[in-house]
């Protein structure tokens, strides 16, 4: 369908954008527009005004510091894909983002837009939750940091205030020895996942796993950390016994949603299977996706 009518502004500063959002109650931000424009086309969103971030400077950088990554809200998927530094600085970030949509969409879709859109099956929100990211937002009450786990309130719903604009995402530093994997199942490459599992852990001097982080996308109303699975992995050596345990716990702890793409039982089963495969891949027990 054609889009509903709305007003449009492309302010040159963040302050101006915040002011426009605060003054217009159902104004919405547009960045790449790759999620919002389909929502408009389906008439699922009727904003009175779109506030375009395209003229606001300094939101398009990926900075690598000793503390980790600082990723600007308007960084596009294609930038992440071709940034050679990321294969060392944050391989999980680069790999997970390679699963986002298709070529043309990756040329316009943005990190901040995906977080604010909060699709439960999207990679970026899940990645932020798994990696303990901090989301930096600016609004009429100033700047605040939101832990990624506190950002998502439900499908397509966040805890952001009307005037708040996501400006940056901070990723904690990525140690070189970290083991990681991400696997998702979608009917076609580039489609939203019916389920996806991201995992990482840091092996200690004795080869035991510590600091395990496990998260799922596309399964529940928001991306979810699997704390019980993390607890089961920590302090253990990766073995077939542990992998079987992880599979059972992962499948048992999620309460998946059902939709036209997959039923809850199927998703429950997928979470177990994908968790086991991800564990194997992270531990180097399995190289390629089966």
């Amino acid at each position: 369908m054609k889009l509903p009518n709305f007003d449009y502004r492309a302010p040159a500063s963040l302050d101006e954008a915040v002011g426009l959002l605060a003054a217009n109650n159902d104004a919405r931000i547009i960045s790449g527009g790759q999620s919002l424009v389909p929502m408009l086309a389906f008439r699922l969103a009727y904003p009175s005004m779109l506030v375009d971030l395209r003229n606001i400077a300094n939101l398009e950088r990926i900075q690598i510091t000793d503390d980790g990554l600082r990723v600007g809200a308007r960084v596009r998927w294609c930038q992440i894909e071709c940034d050679a530094r990321l294969s060392d600085s944050h391989p999980l970030f680069q790999y997970m983002i390679s699963h986002v949509a298709h070529y043309q969409i990756r040329n316009r879709g943005t990190v901040g837009g995906s977080l604010a859109h909060a699709d439960p099956a999207a990679e970026m929100p899940g990645l932020a939750v798994v990696c303990d990211c901090n989301i930096i937002v600016v609004g009429s009450d100033g700047t605040r940091n939101i832990a990624a786990g506190d950002l998502f309130a439900g499908p397509l719903n966040t805890t952001l205030e009307q005037s708040e604009v996501i400006t940056e995402v901070h990723f904690p530093a990525w140690p070189a020895q970290r083991r990681w994997a991400f696997i998702e199942i979608a009917r076609r490459k580039g489609d939203f996942a019916m389920a996806g599992v991201a995992i990482y852990y840091d092996p200690d001097a004795h080869g035991k796993a510590s600091n395990a982080h496990v998260g799922v996308i596309g399964v529940t109303a928001t991306p979810q950390r699997l704390n019980e699975v993390e607890a089961a992995i920590n302090g253990r050596t990766i073995s077939e016994e542990l992998i079987a345990e992880v599979k059972a716990i992962a499948s048992g702890t999620v309460e998946p949603m059902s939709d036209i793409h997959a039923g809850a039982d199927y998703r429950k089963s997928l979470v177990g299977t994908l968790s086991a495969r991800a564990m194997r891949r992270a531990a180097g027990l399995e190289r390629e996706a089966p």
Partner: protein, 163 residues
Amino acid sequence: MKFAVQFELNGDAVEVNVEPRMTLGDCIRHELGKTGTHIACEHGVCGACTVIVDNEAVRSCLTLAVQAQGSKVVTVEGLSDDDELTPLQKAFRKHHALQCGFCTPGMITTAHALLSAEPDANEERVRDVMSGNICRCTGYLSIIAAVMEARAAYRPQEEVSAE
């Protein structure tokens, strides 16, 4: 309320007065009369409406015309200076990479953007990139073959003659 938007279309400066809700695809077709760009799904899944904005392939149904302000936009009409087909288009013809032709402008613009940036793209990359465009006729194999063959034309000239 309408906005005056200036951008470059296939090398020519254009100015249009459009409502913000007009997509770039509709603007190109209805305001500027370039009907080579085909609009199908209008929500970003089919790739038929792909145009090149500042050297990057984008979905013109997911880009607002007002967002093209100051950009260089190229459509399928802008790929050739004259009535000659481009090497990419010739490869499509040779390999029967089109039947009804509806998806073809999007296929051509996508492949052109890819090969302009990555003339050495391997088949896996070509398949990955072209997977964002849907074709209901060909079964895709002929499209992949055409894009693979056209790569040579995008490489620096010495290399082509050496082959």
